[in-house]
């Protein structure tokens, strides 16, 4: 029961996310671009939106055919990154240092994590360890 409830919730959230992206999309993309290029420090400050909105409009990595769509993603500190599983296999998104760890993501399930500290975050799928990616936080 929990599984299906969660699944429905996630799908509902994604509909909201699509709406959010439509409304804030232009602003958000511009913000990442300028923040990504800024040398240091102020990136988090530039993302003034509430966390909930950031979660809906932040960068999204799709998982399909056992691959992460953006195997390397560079974001400013304070960015929330979302992974969305499009496969029928279960996948996970787990940091090699355990900095973050999703549960099992079934089809159309999503997982988000807010990167607050600069660094290079390697991650992989614990079911299919050949699936690897990294998020570079500046």
């Amino acid at each position: 029961m929990n599984g299906s409830n969660r699944s429905i919730r996630v799908r509902w959230l994604w509909r909201l996310a699509v709406l959010g992206a439509a409304v804030f999309g232009g602003l958000a993309v511009a913000t990442w671009a300028s923040a990504g290029q800024s040398a240091n420090g102020t990136a988090a400050g530039q993302l003034a939106q509430p966390v909930a909105v950031a979660a809906q409009t932040g960068p999204r990595i799709e998982i399909a055919k056992h691959k992460f769509s953006l195997p390397t993603l560079t974001v400013p500190a304070g960015t929330t990154v979302t992974w969305l599983n499009r496969d029928e296999d279960v996948h996970t998104v787990v940091s090699t240092t355990q900095a973050f760890r999703s549960g099992g993501l079934e089809t159309d399930d999503a997982y988000s994590y807010k990167f607050t500290k600069p660094g290079v975050y390697q991650y992989f799928c614990t079911l299919h360890p050949l699936m690897t990616g990294r998020v570079i936080v500046k």
């Binding site: 055919k65 056992h66 029928e88 549960g103 079934e106 614990t126 360890p129 050949l130 690897t132």
Partner: protein, 322 residues
């Protein structure tokens, strides 16, 4: 026994046996012709098959048989099979109908799809309902990823708590290995040093004439490393088994039948009861494949293994649910 349909020539052809040892086209023709399944036997490293037919008086008495069921993925709800529970139950019905009843059942992992509450129970309860005396479970990655194997080991870890296990049955030595724990980023399925040490010790005391059956989830041989269809240190494990005259390796994970013979070791991967996967390297990656509904049951199934004392090989019977 007459070989109604001898595939030895095809299988022995290096062009078709180089990759996986199986002539898929020939095999499918056999399946279509036989309707339900095949008996695979191997003599002198060459696989041959005959149609699966009712036992005749000329057949020697079986010493025992057991069933391998694999990749039941309870909880799977994808497009590739909207009723994975139903096809699993169909496989259970097939096991219940076997005469004589199998001595025991081996589940080679991916018991559950996502380790959801109750999924293990569905499988254990259903298999308890068969006439098999015991059921042995080896995990797939889908059974251990959420908690590092805690639930699996709590249920099936045995007295040592490690999950890997061996037992003897009527002169045959069975070994269950675990190659889905402790995955490392960018790595492959592996057994690990502690398990390898245990395996080496486990077989040391056995005479080379003891038939061995080894079962594990991920293939112990290199089916397709690019998709992770290999066990990193499988070669090390197999090196301990080379001196034995008859070694049968049973794996799951890839949801399709593949066979290969290397010396005295024969390798067999099994069908899933839940959904098929692509042939190695076909398409962009592994994962559930949707086939036309009327074809689904012909790519799902289970396996019966027959042991006849004095025969150097175990007879492998793969049956689909069609």
């Amino acid at each position: 026994m007459t070989d109604d349909f001898n595939q030895a020539r095809d299988i022995d052809d290096p062009e078709v046996s180089g990759g996986d040892g199986v002539d898929r086209r020939g095999f499918l023709q056999c399946m279509a012709w036989a309707g339900t399944g095949l008996v695979w036997t191997a003599t002198g490293g060459v696989l041959a098959s005959r149609a699966l037919s009712p036992a005749s008086a000329a057949e020697p008495a079986l010493d025992f048989s057991f069933v391998q069921v694999s990749d039941t993925h309870i909880g799977f709800k994808g497009e590739a099979n909207k009723d994975a529970l139903g096809t699993f139950e169909q496989a259970i019905a097939r096991i219940k109908a076997l005469e004589p009843a199998p001595a025991f059942i081996i589940h080679t992992g991916d018991i559950t799809h996502a380790q959801k509450a109750g999924a293990f129970d569905i499988v254990t309860e259903a298999l308890k309902g068969t006439k098999a005396e015991r059921v042995f479970y080896i995990p797939g990655e889908n059974d251990v990823f959420a908690d590092g194997g805690k639930e699996y080991l709590g249920r099936f870890g045995g007295p040592t708590g490690t999950g890997w296990q061996s037992f003897d049955y009527k002169g045959v030595h069975f070994i269950g290995l675990i190659n889905v724990l402790n995955f490392k980023a960018g790595g492959l399925g592996s057994l690990g040093q502690a398990q390898l040490d245990w395996l080496k010790k486990d077989v040391e005391r056995l005479t080379s004439s003891t038939p061995l059956v080894v079962f594990a989830h991920v293939p112990l041989w290199a089916v397709y490393p690019k998709w992770g269809w290999v066990t990193e240190d499988g070669g090390q494990a197999l090196s301990y088994l080379k001196r034995f005259g008859s070694v049968t390796v049973l794996n799951g994970h890839i949801h399709q039948i593949m066979q290969k013979v290397e010396g005295n070791i024969s390798f067999h991967t099994a069908l899933s009861t839940a959904f098929p996967q692509p042939a190695p390297g076909v398409g962009e990656g592994p994962g559930p494949v949707k086939v036309p509904a009327e074809r689904l049951r012909s790519v799902l199934g289970l396996r019966e293994v027959n042991y006849i004392q004095g025969k150097s090989r175990l007879a492998i019977v793969d049956s689909t649910l069609a």
